[in-house]
Amino acid sequence: MKTKKNTISATPNVTGSFSSFDFAGKWSTPLFLIVIYVVIGFFIWWLNIPFIEDIFTSSTINLIMVLGFQMYMGNSGILNWSYVGYAGIGAFFSAIFSMDPMLKSMQIPTMYPFLVKLHLPFILALFAGALIATLVAALIAWPLMRLSDSVGAITQFALLIVINVVLSQWSQVTNGPRTFTLGGSRKTTYELVMAVAVLVIIAVFMFKESSLGLKLRATRDDRYAARSSGINFIAVRYVGYVASAFIAGFAGGLYSHYILSITAASFYLSQLFVVLSMLVIGGSMSVSGAFFGTLVVTLARQGLSQVELGLTRSGFEAYGMTEIVVAILMIIFLIWRPNGLTGGRELTLNSFKRLIGKKKLKPTGNRKKMEEII
């Protein structure tokens, strides 16, 4: 370890070696995540087992959702319960836009005629659905943005309930509490979700590193200091919230065109729990946290549901075990490692090197020293 003895001096000592583009310490992160993700993707494609491919596709949609969730919640520190509601809005509206009018009038006889007439190509429909979610967020979010902490969380939760009730009761749009069936073939493909996931990893990371993302992270850590440094915390939160609603809406559209029949309940508490557990366990403050949280929780869930199935087959009713174990895991993390697996840090070339280098160091039994090395 370096011995630290630097005296305060007023004489400039600019080395000139500083570059604002720091690959090893920062910009290697999206590259790492994308490489890991794409390698997994190609491996599963090569395996060519439909059942595993399906798991990969649906997990990727979850990954996209968790990344968008991280983008606002992780950077602002505000518990954003309403998030999955926007996924629901995107899911329904993209389906409405993409479905053939004939099919629509058959599947949802109650639908408004002007909605029945609307028809867009699939990709445009995804964007349009996401834009509707964004618009809804833009219209209602402003007054909520000044609320922080528990008040903010409760308000967001109430908003989720509002969105859910509207989605589940507005028969002329969503078919009400009945299932909304898209019909036709599955449009959300393996390649499409992979491409979107790669783009979203880049987008979310760039957001975090942008001026706006930096300002948002500052408001998360200290609202007063941010304010006196020139940051309007309401405005930066607003932009972050609305932008994350776009990703939620887009992911929702991918979901509805994958699963092909949805209800408002698909975008409520159980889905919220899925994305929340992934983000919390991975570590909400980093994009790497969202990524590895999704990876780890997905693997855990798949493993657990196999166990659940096995137990149930052998006559031991174990339904719900997966949820309970994931919930307990989340609690354990919140107690012992509140910043998740990643500790709120990003996987970078530097941290990777340290990780490898650290193994060579013999632990001295001095906890403080180890922490310094990490």
Partner: protein, 243 residues
């Protein structure tokens, strides 16, 4: 001489439920100048800074920079007018790196991110923290935290900075070093500096002028040597048993 700017604080007051925390206080500060705002604990120094920087609504009074009234400017726009502050109780962004902490000062006044990064790096290097640029602010010593906070304020390229007890929590050596640094800043960067500090010895050697508060009221102002002899100041300080 570079552009000369003036910050004028005119008769500001603030009561907290009947307690007059700041009562009709006026002063002015020019770029290049160091003004010491002193007074016993609870005399209203922090409240004054809070009001001047817009963090706390005033009951009455005005703040002007070069004749422009900024009394009603929201706190987050005050830095754009060239006025920034630091806190008595250090307020850093603990999950951000030192570089990012300082960058905030710059992007907060609209400097582009890349330029902000270069500026932040050079400020940190200037303050002797060049080798800790990418470390999280969380693990720093008090002294280094103070320096990062100062760098963050300077990154806004301000005309005026208000430092609320910048030496609080530092040992004697660190304090002396910090004050040596602060003494050079106003002339070098053409900044008007208001500093709150308890230690009379330090204040006397650092400040060009002093402004003394007691129970929220101005009890003396002027040159350090004159203020030191002021009987009311002596009573206030002896009364509070401060150094």
């Amino acid at each position: 001489m570079e552009n000369l700017s003036t910050l004028a604080v005119k008769s500001i007051s603030k009561s907290f439920k009947g307690l007059k925390a700041v009562n009709d206080v006026s002063f002015h500060l020019k770029t290049g100048e160091i003004l010491g705002l002193i007074g016993p604990n609870g005399s209203g120094k922090t409240t004054t800074i809070n009001m001047v920087t817009g963090m706390l609504p005033k009951d009455s009074g005005h703040i002007e920079i070069d004749g422009q009234d900024i009394s009603d400017v929201p706190a987050y726009k005050v830095p754009v007018y060239g006025l920034v502050r630091t806190y008595q109780k250090i307020r850093l962004f603990k999950n951000l790196s030192n570089l990012e902490n300082v960058m905030i000062g710059a992007v907060g006044v609209g400097i582009k991110r890349r330029e902000a990064a270069v500026l932040a790096a050079s400020l940190l290097t200037e303050l002797g923290l060049g080798d800790r640029i990418n470390e999280p602010a969380q693990g720093l010593t008090f002294r280094d935290q103070r320096l990062v906070e100062l760098a963050r304020a300077l990154a806004a390229k301000p005309k005026f900075v208000m430092l609320d007890e910048p030496a609080a929590g530092l040992n004697e050596l660190e304090t002396d070093e910090l004050f040596a640094l602060l003494k050079e800043l106003p002339a070098k960067k053409n900044i008007g500096m208001l500093i709150v500090e308890h230690d009379m010895r330090l204040i006397m050697s650092l400040c060009h002028r002093l402004h003394v508060l007691n129970y929220g009221r101005t009890i003396a102002e002027g040159l350090p040597d004159d203020v030191r002899k002021d009987p009311e100041v002596i009573t206030a300080y002896l009364g509070s048993a401060a150094s």
